[in-house]
């Protein structure tokens, strides 16, 4: 089966006075219909840029995007603005991180949703408005009629994020790009929103790319996970496999720094020492090497390639050494 979206060797660079800086470097992945892919990484790892690049929404005149992004076989990089515009909000929709600022403050929720519907369909104003109310109901907003007539700032954060999701779903997108949809929300509301995103696949047949820095979110929601570090994917696998047998020391670090909400509580959380490298001072070899406890000479000259088939990792640690090394981090 052809993948819904296939990204090959995507790079996003910025022209600066110090030359070209690569923020996303050689990212490749694909996503099938109805699949939920989680992209995990800390701030600045390039996960948001990767997703913004899909719809050419980076919006910085100094950004340079290279590589290939194919959606249903159509190349999106360098595509005509007209074609991209038809995809945006139509076949590919996006949910942003901060629902507080993601909606235009001077229009009602209903008007903003029906605006999007009317761009992509030829529904009448009235029908679009009715559909907006239906969608608000579908994402679980209480009293959708009244909610549609309200302005964004009259709703709570969770309600707004539901409204943003309703808007994204308005044209039955085949692919939903969710950029940290729960980061700005309370933990209880987070769980509800994640539940909603999981339900989307069943109700709307959408594939989802879910960006987060929270492995817990991924564990609960995604089918497959890609871990990004400093602009590159360092490990990718099915969610179950990743959590059962994480390959990359960075993934171990992420797992080790996660508090266990059930099971045995570890006496203290491990941290990953140091900070991610500045983009213009990335080491020649593996970008994680300055923070990694298992550095070897072969890590330093060039970044390791992703190896493996289903479970890929960009690390030189061999299969038989992995368990022992991992226990040093996770059992500490």
């Amino acid at each position: 089966m052809n993948p819904l979206l296939e990204i090959v060797d995507l790079a996003v660079s910025f022209r600066t006075s110090n030359g070209l800086i690569r923020a996303v470097d050689g990212v490749s992945f694909s996503i099938a219909e109805r699949e939920i892919l989680g992209i995990v990484g800390e701030s600045g790892s390039g996960k948001s840029l990767t997703v913004l690049a899909i719809l050419d929404l980076i919006g910085d005149p100094n950004a340079v995007v290279t590589g290939s992004i194919r959606f249903r076989g159509i190349e999106l990089i360098g595509q005509k603005p007209e074609t991209l515009r038809r995809l945006r909000g139509g076949a590919i929709a996006m949910i942003f991180q901060d629902p507080m600022t993601a909606l235009t403050p001077v229009f009602t929720i209903g008007a903003q949703i029906s605006e999007q519907i009317r761009i992509h369909t030829d529904l009448s104003r009235h029908a679009a408005q009715a559909r907006a109310v239906e969608l608000l109901d579908a994402v679980g907003l209480p009293d959708p009629h009244r909610a549609a007539a309200r302005y964004p700032q009259e709703l709570s954060g969770g309600q707004r994020q539901r409204a943003v999701i309703a808007m994204a779903l308005s044209c039955n997108p085949a692919l939903l790009l969710a950029d940290e949809p729960t980061t700005a929300l309370d933990v209880t509301v987070q769980a509800q929103i994640l539940e909603l995103i999981r339900k989307l696949r069943d109700d709307f047949n959408s594939a989802v790319i879910l960006i987060t820095h929270n492995l817990g979110v991924v564990a609960e929601t995604a089918d497959r996970v890609a871990v990004m570090y400093s602009g590159r994917i360092v490990e990718t696998a099915d969610t179950g496999a990743l959590f059962a047998d994480p390959h990359h020391p960075y993934t171990w670090g992420l797992l080790g720094s996660m508090p266990a909400l059930d099971g045995i509580r570890r006496p203290r959380l491990t941290t990953i020492p140091g900070l991610p490298p500045a983009l213009d001072r990335r080491p020649q070899g593996c970008a994680f090497s300055p923070r990694c406890g298992f550095v070897r000479p072969e890590c330093l000259p060039a970044p390791p390639c992703l190896t493996g088939t289903m479970h890929q990792a960009a690390c030189v640690i061999a299969d038989h050494e992995r368990a022992a090394a991992r226990n040093q981090v996770l059992a500490a």
């Binding site: 929404l57 919006g59 993601a102």
Partner: protein
């Protein structure tokens, strides 16, 4: 909404009261500004001054003088000039007001429409030569003194080019009442409108451009793009609506000031006997009742247009409606 308007009205009355007291004190109670001496004329004998004081009621306590003055302005409307004795002041202001209103309202329509167009185009083509050209032009517009522009306009439209096809339609200087001939009213005001509008076009275009560019950085603009709106729709529907607030603020102040007499220079250059002209004359002769009347008239307009702005705000931006 209704309570907002009522609160606003009470507020307005309070502000107007404050202004009238202040103006009254400045002209009647400042040491050295003895109105009786002015009315009596130069080198008048103390007896004459005393008689004038009695006659004009200037020897009575200040609060009573103030109350009498207000009564004469607002209730009996028979306040008379100290300079042209016997001439009533209030009807003169009422005669001048439509002239100023015609001038300023027409200019305001021109400057709002043109400034929004220029600001939006400049923001849309930010940092291109179009943007730079428009911003240089608007800076030139701001820098040209209005009396110079008006004099130049007169020189060309009334003088050297008056007999060419270009400006032969321009009527002689002066105001033609709208009820007399709407066409002539329009023709006689078109050049003054443009002259007055130039400064504000430059100013508003720059302010709007800056506000638009700032708004275009907002998250909701990215959402609007992600919805599949074209750049033009994003700019005109989402960004412009949010940026207009800054222009509305400016407009309320400028419009009030201009209608209140701030268009003086334009009025003088084009021979329009509006409120600015009237104030100017009254100040020259220190005609205190006339000054009182024009200042109070002006402050009414400034305060009223500010109140209107607050209400328009709420219409433009629902965030303002929630404020208590």
């Amino acid at each position: 909404m209704a309570s907002t308007i009522i609160r606003r009205l009470v507020h307005m009355v309070a502000v107007l009261f404050g202004i009238s007291v202040l103006v009254f004190l400045i002209f009647f109670a400042t040491p050295g500004a003895n109105p009786a001496e002015r009315i009596a004329g130069k080198n008048a004998s103390p007896q004459t001054v005393a008689r004038v004081e009695r006659q004009f009621g200037l020897n009575r306590p200040l609060p009573i003088q103030y109350a009498l003055m207000m009564k004469k302005i607002f209730i009996t409307r028979n306040l008379t000039s100290y300079v042209n004795l016997g001439e009533k002041v209030v009807p003169q202001v009422f005669k001048a007001a439509p002239i100023t209103l015609s001038l300023v309202a027409g200019a305001a329509i021109i400057w709002i429409v043109v400034a929004i167009a220029i600001g939006a185009v400049a923001a849309a083509f930010r940092n291109s030569w179009i943007d730079r050209l428009l911003m240089v032009l608007s800076l030139i517009g701001i820098s040209m003194p209005v009396f110079w522009v008006g004099t130049m306009a007169n020189l060309f439209t009334q003088g050297i080019w008056h007999h060419t096809w270009l400006f032969s339609w321009v009527p002689p200087l002066g105001y033609v009442d709208f009820s007399k001939s709407p066409v002539l009213w329009f023709k006689s005001l078109l050049i003054p409108w443009i002259t007055l509008a130039i400064l504000y076009i430059g100013l508003y275009a720059r302010v709007l451009r800056a506000a638009l560019i700032e708004t275009m950085q907002e998250d909701f603009i990215r959402t609007a793009r992600a919805k599949g709106l074209s750049e033009r729709q994003v700019l005109l529907r989402h960004a412009l609506r949010c940026s207009l607030v800054s222009v509305v603020t400016l407009f309320g102040l400028d419009f009030g000031v201009l209608v209140g007499g701030g268009a003086l220079l334009t009025e003088v250059v084009f021979g329009l006997q509006g409120v600015g002209y009237l104030t100017y004359q009254a100040l020259e002769t220190l005609d205190l009742p006339m000054i009182m009347a024009t200042v109070i008239y002006a402050s009414v307009f400034v305060v009223v247009s500010n109140a209107v702005v607050d209400i328009v705000y709420a219409a433009f931006d629902p965030r303002m409606r929630l404020r208590r």
